[in-house]
Amino acid sequence: MKTKVSSVGTVAAQSARFDTPLALKSGAVLPACELVFETYGTLNAAKSNAILVCHALSGHHHVAGTYADQPKNLGWWDNLIGPGRPLDTGRFFVVGVNNLGGCHGSTGPSSNNPATGKPWGADFPVVTVEDWVQAQARLADHLGIDAWAAVIGGSLGGMQAMQWAIDLPQRIRHALVIAAAPKLTAQNIAFNDVARQAILTDPDFHGGHFYEHQTTPQRGLRLARMLGHITYLSDDQMGEKFGRALRNKEGGLGYGYGVEFEVESYLRSQGDKFAGYFDANTYLLMTKSLDYFDPAHRCGGDLAAALKPALAKFLVISFTTDWRFAPARSREIVNALLKNDQNVSYAEIASDYGHDSFLLEGAHYHAVLSAYLKRVKL
């Protein structure tokens, strides 16, 4: 019997509260926290079919499906999840979670600080990928899941899958690390810092306490997103999509500084859209968490040594035109695993769409994920 391929349909967010203090890598302690999450499919009796989806910089728990009252609000990785899709909800129980420090319902800078009764703002501790894994493990406990069949993520999400395999080797059987890197390069950090500077120098930022001023640093956040967006696309793709096309096709050049090129219009609208809903402090925190990610650091830079405790089998995927986290960066992860004689498969997917490719529905890309996940024993 062939399953009809479809979306998961209508979904609803849930939340879980954890009152045990969480000691963070920075040394700070979060007294309590709440995580919002969504689940798709059914957890089997053995609780062996759960897959955790980790989100990247601007993602959240709404990974698949739509909400009853928001039929157009499609989850950010909907193309991957549902009956007959690579993360087949006929077989797997899929969990999406908004990470600590996020701005979609989980405890973060825009939540109230119990000590002051006011939003945390800049006082919210910087959380790291390691901290996210600890928090996600609490969610796994809450759901009664001893070990994930798989943890999957793209970009910063892929880094979480790696960290799971390192920190909690008994609790993850497969790590799917997509469009990621073992650590950021100076260039990566530089892009993140320009984005942060855009936010930090916005007069509406108010040292991170803009909530009390009934304002948001929209200009900074918009610039940060515009910059980020450029790095998610490939040069060729931008050339093909926009080229040098002008908004006003008949009018010619305006010899001024308004919106003229289509690419300007596109980036500004992406920036505006993002600045309208995303929290500036969360953006700062997420980029910092990316910058800090470096599991090899505690092993003197030896990635293989860092990955040694991992028991999970790995699928590493990169995209040819991704220059933010280029295929060579994925190869570093692969080579470290090979050095340890660990189970790993690696696919380098031909794609025109740069870093964003991991979010898109490429036939071969999805076929590789499907093939791999079909082999995952429950």
Binding site: R331, L338, D341, N343, A371
Partner: protein, 198 residues
């Protein structure tokens, strides 16, 4: 560079792999050889292939497969990581013959190399008759062949001697996949060598 199931050289190679040994299969195709070695020999290891469809097929077969060309594919492995490094029906497609042999014997204790023998009498006859040979083991027309090196068993053995590579064992097959027991360079269509550093 892809394996077909049930290829006669697979049986020869399987006979050389001891239980639990580590195998690297370069140009692993759909992973059929590794799968055979895992299932019948309890071997472990990885396949390397450049082709999308082969990588997908190998993942479908449950094989650890690394997508890459032979150069990047081998660069990722540490010295002596494998008991056997297999290059099946691929050496004739590689431009840097000596480099690949050296790299294989760097990452592996021994290498298994199979290739179509250009010295096979039918190939010689084809050339004598004025045409490039086309057969089961050399299935391509001259204008679309992936093969860039044409050599005989004697040529290969001369290169091994020059590179101080020791031929530990060799098996030679005819077009039907039957073992050739005499006049190997004349009667053999496919040669399978087991080589180590001299």
């Amino acid at each position: 560079m892809s394996h077909r199931l049930g290829r006669p050289d697979f049986e020869v190679i399987a006979g050389w792999v001891q239980p639990g040994e580590r195998v690297l299969d370069l140009g692993c195709g759909d992973g059929a050889l590794l799968k055979l070695l895992i299932e019948t020999r309890g071997a472990r290891g990885y396949g390397v292939d450049i082709d999308d469809a082969n990588v997908l097929a190998a993942i479908n077969n449950g094989i650890n497969v690394i997508q890459g060309n032979l150069d990047t594919g081998l660069a990722g492995f540490v010295d002596g990581a494998f008991d056997h490094v297999v290059l099946s029906r691929t050496l004739q497609t590689v431009r840097h013959t000596q480099e690949i042999l050296t790299a294989m014997l760097r990452v592996g204790r021994e290498a298994v190399v199979s290739f179509p023998n250009f010295g096979y009498w039918k190939n010689r006859a084809a050339v004598l008759n004025g045409r490039m040979p086309v057969s089961d083991d050399l299935p391509y027309a001259w204008y679309d062949t992936p093969n860039v090196r044409f050599f005989t068993m004697l040529d290969f053995e001369a290169l091994c001697a020059e590179m101080n590579i020791r031929v530990r064992e060799r098996q030679v097959l005819d077009e039907q996949g039957q073992l050739v027991i005499e006049e190997h360079n004349f009667l053999g269509s496919l040669a399978v060598y087991r080589i180590t550093k001299g």
